[in-house]
């Protein structure tokens, strides 16, 4: 379980660029959940997730991973980073080895595992993200955008994290690539019943298709939280924050305003079709 208590973060305190990035964030994320963190650019999403694996220390407040206080200076940070895997937005920021296999092995090697274990982990992780064996011996720089992203995710998965955080995993991919990555996330969720998965996104369509729980950040504050249905029921608020609500939600909201009795939490096309069909019958 991840638990944040009154986390505040001030960027460059005492300098000319001083700016508060996070305001009093308190949240609890239960084991085995698939969560989405959404918000506008600069809303503090990336800063918040970097707190979870102690890459950034809060100015005040505390963060616990299964009861371990990661903001405590005495906590073993390497252990925290093993337990909380963070995949950054651009795979280009982490791929560096001669081959994809060696690159995925970088994390497990830093953990001091034996060659045997490393090999096993690398193959399990690349299978989990659907990276074919033949790519393992290639240079990571030869891969396509989507494959690079898979390799980057595998590199973190190979450390067997209890929490997997993905920063904008679908940004810059074409629709097919996006769906492929979202499918991987869903599969990882299904195959790891205790793992917490958090993915950052600003695409509401992606969130609607994938997440169970949604946290909405706005200007450094946690503005809305709840199940995906609950959050999308607040369509108007989301639009005010400058987030793109899925088109189907916009349509349903208009219909409700026009007096058609549809439920407010419709956010997938499938669900909308079913409800409208029911009305027409």
């Amino acid at each position: 379980m991840i638990k944040a208590e009154h986390v505040n973060y001030i960027y460059q305190p005492g300098m000319a660029g001083e700016r508060q990035a996070l305001f009093d964030i308190s949240m609890e994320i239960a084991d085995g959940t698939l969560n989405a963190l959404i918000g506008h650019t600069g809303s503090g999403k990336s800063t918040l997730i970097q707190h979870f694996n102690a890459l950034v220390r809060p100015t005040s407040g505390r963060i616990f991973i299964d009861g371990t206080d990661v903001t405590d200076k005495k906590t073993d940070l390497r252990e925290v980073r093993r337990r909380v895997g963070l995949v950054f937005q651009y795979p280009e920021h982490q791929l560096f080895e001669e081959t994809v296999e060696k690159d995925i092995a970088f994390g497990p090697r830093n953990l001091g595992l034996t060659d045997e274990e490393i090999k096993e982990r690398v193959h399990a992780a690349s299978a989990a993200v659907g990276l074919k064996e033949k790519y393992l011996s290639r240079s990571p720089f030869e891969l396509s955008g989507g494959q690079k992203r898979r390799a980057a995710i595998a590199g973190v998965l190979a450390m067997n994290p209890e929490v997997l955080i993905l920063d904008e995993p679908t940004a810059g991919l074409d629709p097919r690539g996006r769906d492929a990555i979202l499918d991987i996330i869903k599969q990882l969720h299904a195959q790891n019943p205790r793992m917490i998965i958090i993915f950052v996104s600003h695409s509401m369509e992606d969130v609607a298709k994938t997440a169970e729980y949604v946290y909405v950040m706005n200007r450094g504050r946690l503005a809305i939280r709840g199940t995906t249905a609950e959050v999308f029921a607040e369509g108007g608020e989301l639009v005010k924050m400058g987030l793109n609500v899925p088109q189907v939600t916009l349509l349903v909201n208009r219909l409700i305003e026009a007096g058609i009795p549809l439920p407010r939490d419709v956010y997938t096309v499938k669900y909308a079709v079913k409800e409208i069909e029911r009305l027409l019958r």
Binding site: R81, V87, F88, V156
Partner: protein, 269 residues
Amino acid sequence: MFKDIIIGQYVPGKSVLHRLDPKIKIILTLAYIIMLFMLKSPLAYAAFAAATAALIALSCINLRFFLKGLRPMLFIIVFTAVINLFFTPGEALASAHVFRWTISVTKEGVRMAAVMFYRLVLLVTGTSLLTLTTSPLMLTDGIEKLLSPLTIVRVPAHEIAMMMTIAIRFIPTLAEETDKIQKAQTARGADFSSKNLIKRIKAMIPLLVPLFVSAFRRADELATAMDARCYNGGSRRTRLHESHIGKADILYASVYIAVCISVLALNAV
């Protein structure tokens, strides 16, 4: 760690020194350095230090920025002074026997050490005066103008200035990128703070490879973008902000030169 880099040390301001033409400032800084090595008498040294102090006051820049510039040089300065102190032959003031060697401090040694210390400190301070009061863009503009007569002998003055401008422009971008890469690798268990030197150097590889790849990619993209807008060298190119040598610049330079000549005159005293 990388976010704290101050590019070119420039401290924005509105002082007389800030408003001077960069060409004048560069030439006068060169004069300053030459002066530093022409000083002979103690009186001249004192007068020159006083003039430097006056320039610092004139720049309206907090003294701590100058001290910050000195800090990385401190080792070299102290090292040079110490070497001079012990290894200058002459009239011994004190000596000690260590094993078979005799180490002695000579009168000339003390003098040399003091002179070296003085020169290096003022050298750094004097050049800091230029970089602290001149924005990197103004600086490259000044260099381009000063090099432009050399275009006759095929020195690509504009290109040199352009490259410097681009390099300066990309420092913050690359610093930010380094920070991100470092975080991404730290998240995979990389350790950049190991006490072991070999481990620390090895730890740089996962940082440097993505950084170089990205730098080359950016360079490539920039080249394409410049090409797409038909950029070609310096031929008859005008600037948005032309710098001109005005009355204030000439007045300043005259006073500066007058002070320099007076200080040199003190050498004879």
